[in-house]
């Protein structure tokens, strides 16, 4: 069942939508919105299709599709550079994630009227880039889409952003592109060292790299991609970026874009240079743990809603990096789960914050109080996201974080303890936030507030469903992810230790 066209469609729908929107005159904002909505729905359907049809029993890369771009010229040999698409168990959930978040993003940004044409064009470009990264099987195009995903961000934040946007936008763009410089160099080196004359990832994966080389160039991928994943101490772009960005962009950004980083560490780091993992993954784990606790504490101090969530993203991405750092099946599995979980959850957060900000024009927690009276649905959605993020069982966050902790404790009990602790601190600031802003005596200043618009409500729903679904029945996700994680090179399989305990098994 290699319907690779489905993947091609993943790219063509948003790109085509961008072009189509470009052709519609600015005079008809509604038409533009409708096109965007149609595209979003199609993408969501497509993503769900890919996710559902992916056969985790076979595992491996499916939906394989390859169009040669340049080959057999100069230093490029067979399939030198080719648009090679494919999805494995790790990419499939992330594709789904992107579909969901993009769909919700379209709904949330329904009420943008200032040059919404340009907005949606850039938005679609961004989505294209993200999809591309998840499904590319060729280093060149992987990087192509990786940059493409960062590129529109600048304008999106610059034009439609809010607080201190020039600084935020510039910092975000420069930091991310600067980090990608490392990835770029790494790609060069890998290509040359491999001597295969192709950027095709399957080929490069097969290559056995010299350990010294791998250990030298692994950090290029680890840090280069890690920055995008909010790797401590290169994370500060993310809170500022989130705060500055318009709602939908924050959603995509925290929800999906930051996952590209972790995804890149898996795709380029672990898969291509497994020889380097032994040396570097512990470092990643330490940094991830620091990020987890550090982000949590920073979030404690913030009063701006978006800053709280921005730092909580740092903290949660810290869990992802922790999970990767463990380099055992459960940890990595948890990392990918956390990517999905955090993606949906934080997207929901930002969607809600945006909905509030559009009315209240402030995000200062201390300004609010008891707004549940005016915005019950807002509070319910927000609360759900919060509970998910503090790892409440039954919601997606718990499944992911639990895996991460289990994976971590196997190798580094202390770090696992720190991780669990930071999860507890998460509870502190989330509840503090809810208590201050949503509950308590009603602050009459907000008489004017009204509840979510139906578009926001729909967007919120689109995000709530996966949160609950994954929390209650994670099996579909885990099956797919595990099918890929168990194949990852250098990842130790743990669990089922009882097998070698005579006393238990009789």
């Amino acid at each position: 069942m290699d319907a690779g066209e489905a993947l091609l469609l993943l790219l063509l729908i948003p790109a085509g939508a961008a072009v189509a929107i470009m052709l519609v005159p600015q005079r008809y904002p509604t038409a533009i919105r409708l096109i965007a909505l149609a595209a979003g729905t199609a993408m969501l359907a497509n993503a769900i299709y890919v996710f559902a049809v992916y056969d985790y029993v076979d595992g491996g890369f499916q939906f394989d599709l390859q169009y040669v771009w340049i080959e057999n010229v100069g230093f490029l040999k067979e399939n030198g550079i080719s648009l090679h698409l494919g999805v494995d168990g790790i990419a499939a959930p992330l594709v789904l994630l992107n579909g969901i978040v993009a769909f919700a993003g379209v709904l949330i940004s329904w009420k943008i009227d200032y040059r919404n044409k340009d907005f949606f064009v850039l938005f679609m470009l961004l989505v294209t880039g993200v999809f591309g990264v998840y499904i590319s099987q060729d280093l060149f195009f992987w990087f192509f889409f990786y940059e493409l995903a960062v590129l529109p961000m600048y304008l999106l934040i610059l034009v439609w952003g809010s607080t201190n946007k020039e600084y935020g936008a510039m910092k975000l763009t420069m930091v991310l592109v600067g980090a990608s410089v490392l990835v770029f160099v790494g790609i060069f080196a890998v290509f040359v060292e491999s001597g295969t004359g192709t950027f095709d990832l399957p080929v490069l994966r097969a290559v056995e790299f010299d350990t010294g080389f791998a250990q030298t160039f692994f950090p290029f991928f680890m840090i280069g991609c890690g920055v995008l994943a909010g790797l401590w101490p290169f994370h500060t772009w993310s809170p500022d970026g989130h705060v500055a960005a318009p709602t939908a962009v924050s959603m995509l950004h925290a929800g999906v874009l930051m996952k590209l980083g972790a995804f890149g560490i898996i795709r380029l780091g672990i898969e291509v240079l497994p020889e380097g993992t032994d040396l570097w993954m512990p470092v990643l784990l330490v940094l991830g743990t620091i990020a987890a606790i550090y982000g949590a504490f920073s979030a404690l101090h913030q009063t701006d809603l978006k800053f709280v969530i921005g730092y909580s993203s740092v903290s949660h991405m810290g869990f992802v990096l922790m999970g990767l750092g463990t380099m055992n099946t459960i940890g990595v599995n948890g990392a990918v789960l956390q990517m999905f979980s955090h993606g949906v959850m934080t997207a929901l957060f930002f969607a809600m914050v945006g909905a509030l900000y559009d009315q209240a024009h402030t995000r200062d927690i201390t300004q609010f109080g008891g707004i549940i009276r005016k915005m019950p649905f807002f509070v319910i959605f927000f609360g759900l996201a919060g509970l998910a993020s503090l790892g409440l069982p039954g919601l997606s966050g718990f499944v992911a974080e639990f895996h991460v902790f289990v994976g971590t404790i196997d190798a580094f009990p202390l770090f696992a303890a720190i991780g669990v602790l930071s999860a507890a601190i998460t509870a502190v600031y989330i509840l503090r936030l809810l208590g201050r802003a949503a509950l308590g005596p009603f602050n009459t200043r907000w008489e004017g507030l009204h509840d979510l618009t139906r578009w926001e409500w729909a967007g919120g729903m689109a995000l709530v469903i996966p949160i609950v679904a994954m929390g209650v029945w994670p099996d579909p996700f885990v099956d797919r992810i595990a099918s890929a994680v168990l194949e990852l090179p250098g990842v130790e399989q743990i669990g089922g230790r009882l097998a070698d305990l005579p006393v238990i098994r009789g």
């Binding site: 101490p233 550090y294 101090h301 069982p393 039954g394 404790i409 669990v420 502190v428 305990l501 006393v503």
Partner: protein
């Protein structure tokens, strides 16, 4: 044998009820409270089926332990399971939970009405109640630690929601937050402990873990779990138990939790949720038994809690808070029992305590509901305004005080017996003091609430006997309070179908016989009476001046007591002076060092370098030519160095 294998239906029903209520509660007739009652009621009924088939299986010699479940998710050969197990321990809890929940549900239909019309979010209240029931039942039935943890957190969040039910009140929000966070702190330990056990044994199945641990201890072949490791993990788990069961120093949340509606306090913060900790330790007692020193810790914590809480309870004036502290101290008793290794006894006390404490709370609820006043200082002389309530209240207070032949007497006596059997006399004496205190504060509460002259006429004028829907549950529970104790006796047990009485029924790890020793019984009875007398001597009517005098005699002491040993202050100080500042520090570091220096620094450096570099393009042609020649000369020289010389 059907029901014992399908016990998962019990939690399933209220869970569905919650779903329905959450989605459609508002629109149902009577906002769907009947739905919740129906669900819990059916669960209660089913409980008897389960019990029955359980007894069958025991009599069939099947050991009465049945587990069912399904795999939740699988990574390689790492599997997470949703599993249910039914054994006598679970049965006991099932009974308690379903019974009290049902009573509280019924009671609440009245309590949550203000002058006959339901309070706002009435439907939500019942929804969460049934969700709580579901979670609690799941917790009881869980056969592996992971699932248990999930349910554990589930009940936690329900408690959060219910404490914060009146979220217009900042105090309620604060209390909810406090409760959740404090227990959460314990849960950190719990989770780490669970994972540590997984790390050692590779499973979450309680039975297998116990097996492995014991094996590791018994045959000294390569120890699967080292002693230190075992103790650490066990105590970490106990941390979770302490959090949930509000043991010192985690007890601070429970009194504040009284901000919730009183029925909730009865259900969650007296009868069921708070005893989850006890239940957990009881479940894992074999681990504690094999882990060196673990049991001693449990005992110590329990003892300290029992004493401290008892003392504090003496000084409180808010009815519910007194009851809360008494709950804490009674939980301490249970932990003492566990520490003495007597599971059956602990469970028995749990059972009886559930009954009388629920009664007390519901009673106090009636008082509060009727008088709209919960400060005991301003009540008094109520007994003739609401006699039934008063009677039930007094009965269960006596039970708590441990007056024969009420249920409390039996259970507490059991505890003393167990302790006397296994522990040193010091413990016994301290426990006696605790018992004395409990008798004393209960008596004090009764005295200042129901007897003496009414202190506030407005209040007393408002006071009426509670309506039937509130009385009936109270009365039913009172009956249990009255007669539950006798189930400890073999004869009664045989009559009711579980031979050997209730402790014998709760056999785990091995049966314990009801050891009635006249001396102990006499001692405890005496202690209780002394306590009651002390209360009378200090607080009855005009005697109150003695209390005042006492306070004047020891002002510092009194202050310490009335401020509850400054626990809250200590916590507040830690938060305000340690944690939040640390957060601020991190935030500052993040801004100043990481961002403004680490990120902006290089950028600014580049821009400034650009600013200075600009000046090399002077606009004067000779300078341009000069630079060219310099470049050439340099290149030439370099060339000679590199290639020729």
């Amino acid at each position: 044998m059907f029901w014992i294998d399908h016990a998962w239906i019990l939690p399933a029903i209220p869970a569905c009820a919650f779903g329905l209520l959450a989605l459609s509660g508002r629109f149902l007739p009577r906002q769907g409270d009947w739905l919740s009652i129906l669900a819990i009621g059916s669960a209660f009924v089913l409980f008897f089926f389960v019990l029955e088939s359980h007894l069958d299986s025991i009599n069939a010699g099947l050991g009465g332990i049945a587990t069912t479940g399904f795999d939740w998710l699988t990574v390689g050969d790492f599997t997470l399971r949703i599993g249910f197990t039914v054994d006598s321990l679970a049965i006991v809890m099932l009974g308690v939970v379903t019974l009290v929940s049902l009573m509280v549900n019924v009671y609440s239909t009245q309590y949550l009405r203000h002058h006959g019309k339901p309070e706002p979010r009435y439907w939500w209240y019942f929804g969460v109640l049934s969700l709580f029931a579901a979670a609690m039942l799941a917790l009881v039935l869980a056969d592996n630690l992971l699932f248990l943890y999930m349910a554990w957190e589930g009940v936690g969040i329900c408690s959060f929601l219910l404490i914060g039910f009146y979220y217009e009140r900042p105090s309620a929000v604060e209390a909810a937050k406090k409760a959740f966070v404090t227990t959460r702190l314990g849960d950190v330990g719990l989770l780490i402990g669970i994972i540590l056990f997984w790390r050692a044994t590779g499973t979450f199945q309680i039975s297998e873990i116990i097996e492995a641990a014991q094996a590791g201890r018994l045959n000294d072949q390569a120890q699967i779990i080292g002693d230190g490791y075992l103790t650490m993990a066990t105590l970490l788990i106990f941390l979770g138990a302490m959090g949930k069961s509000a043991q010192v120093p985690f007890h601070v949340w429970l009194p504040d939790a009284m901000e919730g509606p009183t029925p909730v306090s009865a259900l969650i913060h007296a009868a069921t949720m708070v005893v989850a900790g006890v239940y957990l330790v009881a479940r894992l007692l074999p681990l504690f038994a094999v882990a060196p020193g673990a049991l001693d810790v449990v005992l110590a914590v329990g003892l300290i809690t029992a004493l401290l809480a008892g003392v504090i309870a003496l000084t409180q004036t808010d009815i519910k808070r007194v009851l809360a502290y008494s709950t804490i101290s009674q939980l301490g008793f249970m932990f003492v029992a566990l520490g003495a290794g007597a599971v059956g006894v602990a469970m028995f006390h749990l059972l009886t305590h559930a009954a009388f404490k629920a009664t007390l709370f519901l009673g106090s609820g009636s008082v509060i509901h009727m008088t709209e006043e919960q400060d005991a200082q301003r009540l008094g002389g109520l007994w003739w305004r609401m006699p039934v309530t008063a009677t039930t209240f007094i009965i269960s207070s006596l039970a708590l005080a441990g007056i024969a032949p009420l249920s409390g007497f039996f259970s507490k006596d059991e505890i003393f017996a167990a302790v006397a059997r296994s522990e040193s006399d010091v413990v016994l004496i301290l426990l006696g003091v605790a018992a004395f205190l409990s008798a004393m504060y209960m008596a004090r509460l009764v005295i200042i609430t129901f007897f003496g002259a009414p202190k506030d006429l407005a209040v007393i004028r408002r006071a009426r006997e509670a309506p039937a829907t509130m009385l009936v549950p109270v009365i039913i529970l009172t009956l249990f309070t009255l007669f539950l104790g006798f189930f400890a006796l073999d004869q009664v047990g045989d009559a009711f179908g579980f031979p050997g009485g209730i402790n014998n029924f709760v056999y785990f790890p091995e049966p314990e016989d009801f050891a009635f020793s006249a001396t102990v019984a006499a001692a405890t009875g005496l202690v209780s009476l002394l306590g009651i007398f002390a209360a009378y001597w200090l607080f009855w009517g005009r005697n109150a001046r003695r209390a005042v005098a006492l306070r004047r005699l020891q002002p510092a002491m009194a202050a310490v007591l009335e401020n509850k040993f400054y626990f809250d202050e200590a916590y507040q100080w830690t938060i305000d002076k340690a944690i939040l500042p640390f957060g601020a520090l991190i935030a500052w570091f993040d801004r100043m060092i990481v961002n403004d220096t680490g990120v902006n620094g290089p950028a600014d450096a580049t821009r400034y370098s650009a600013f200075w570099l600009r000046y090399h393009v002077t606009g004067r042609l000779p300078d341009y030519a000069l630079l060219m020649i310099v470049g050439i000369a340099a290149a030439g020289a370099l060339g000679f160095l590199l290639r020729v010389g």
